[in-house]
């Protein structure tokens, strides 16, 4: 018989189904979005190359000119933008280290035009002492977290970079510990 409980149950079923469809549609709206972003980066200077307890470590200053405003849609919750360095050594054929990152939650924070340095908690460290004269890439990349749906990402690689041939440090780079 058609009682209150039955009607409430039917209402609940219909409303959650329609809600599900709405979420699906929202997620699908991302497919039509072709973002146009600007990812310009360059290594302004290598500030130091030290050996710290048996592992090499490099310090860089990176000049960033990023414009990620076009990534934001009504379905965007945040954009995570980051920079990473990548190199190959005899021991490891792929080494990657994130050297900078930022969470952007509003489009107005999506323009980054500054020089950043590799700071705690990030470090460009090798497993071993293979960084002198090492060639490396710098990649600037982004990943969106949607309100509902699929994550998207993109990036741009800057290749052909090379670390100095000898250990050195500038004033604001801490001295490495050679033992270990």
């Amino acid at each position: 018989m058609h009682n209150l409980l039955y009607r409430s149950n039917a209402l609940f079923t219909v409303s959650t189904t329609v809600l599900g469809v709405m979420c699906l549609l929202t997620a699908l709206t991302d497919l039509t979005h072709r973002p146009n972003v600007r990812l310009d980066a360059s290594v302004r200077s290598v500030d130091g190359l030290q050996r710290d307890y048996g592992d090499d470590r490099a310090w860089l200053s990176i000049k960033l000119d990023l414009d990620l405003r076009d990534l934001f849609t009504w379905n965007t919750k945040q954009v995570f933008v980051y920079a990473l360095a990548e190199w190959a050594t005899p021991r490891n054929h792929v080494n990657q280290a994130m050297v900078w990152s930022r969470i952007v939650q509003q489009p107005r924070g999506a323009r980054v035009k500054e020089v950043v340095r590799i700071e705690y908690p990030y470090a460009l460290t090798d497993q071993g002492v293979n960084l002198r004269g090492r060639e490396y890439n710098l990649t600037v990349a982004w990943e969106t977290t949607p309100v509902v749906g699929a994550l998207h990402k993109g990036g741009r690689q800057l290749g052909g970079l090379r670390l100095p041939d000898d250990y050195f440090r500038s004033a604001n780079v801490p001295r490495g510990h050679w033992r270990g």
């Binding site: 058609h2 009607r7 039917a10 209402l11 409303s15 329609v18 809600l19 709405m22 929202t26």
Partner: protein, 84 residues
């Protein structure tokens, strides 16, 4: 709630929620806000709940005409037997 009323309740529930969903999606899309969409939808579901779940008078407009119960039928049939 009579049978016609039940059907009305089910249809009302379905159409109100579908309309709320469509309206909410359009609102959210044009406002560029997911939160707006959720608020409109929540309002729509509340309207549907109010309109369909309680036993309102408009669900009882066409009551079923039941046949009289067995006792009444026997009571009206007995005078005929006595007359024979």
């Amino acid at each position: 709630m009579d049978f016609k009323g039940q059907k009305l309740a089910e249809q009302l529930c379905l159409y109100i929620i579908l309309a709320a969903g469509a309206l909410a999606f359009a609102t959210g899309w044009y406002q560029g806000s997911f939160a707006a969409m959720m608020k409109v939808y929540g309002g729509g579901v509340a309207v549907a709940m109010l309109a369909c779940v309680p036993d309102w008078p408009y669900f009882n407009k066409q009551p079923q005409s039941w046949l009289p119960s067995q006792k009444e039928a026997l009571a009206s049939a007995r005078p005929m037997q006595a007359a024979r």
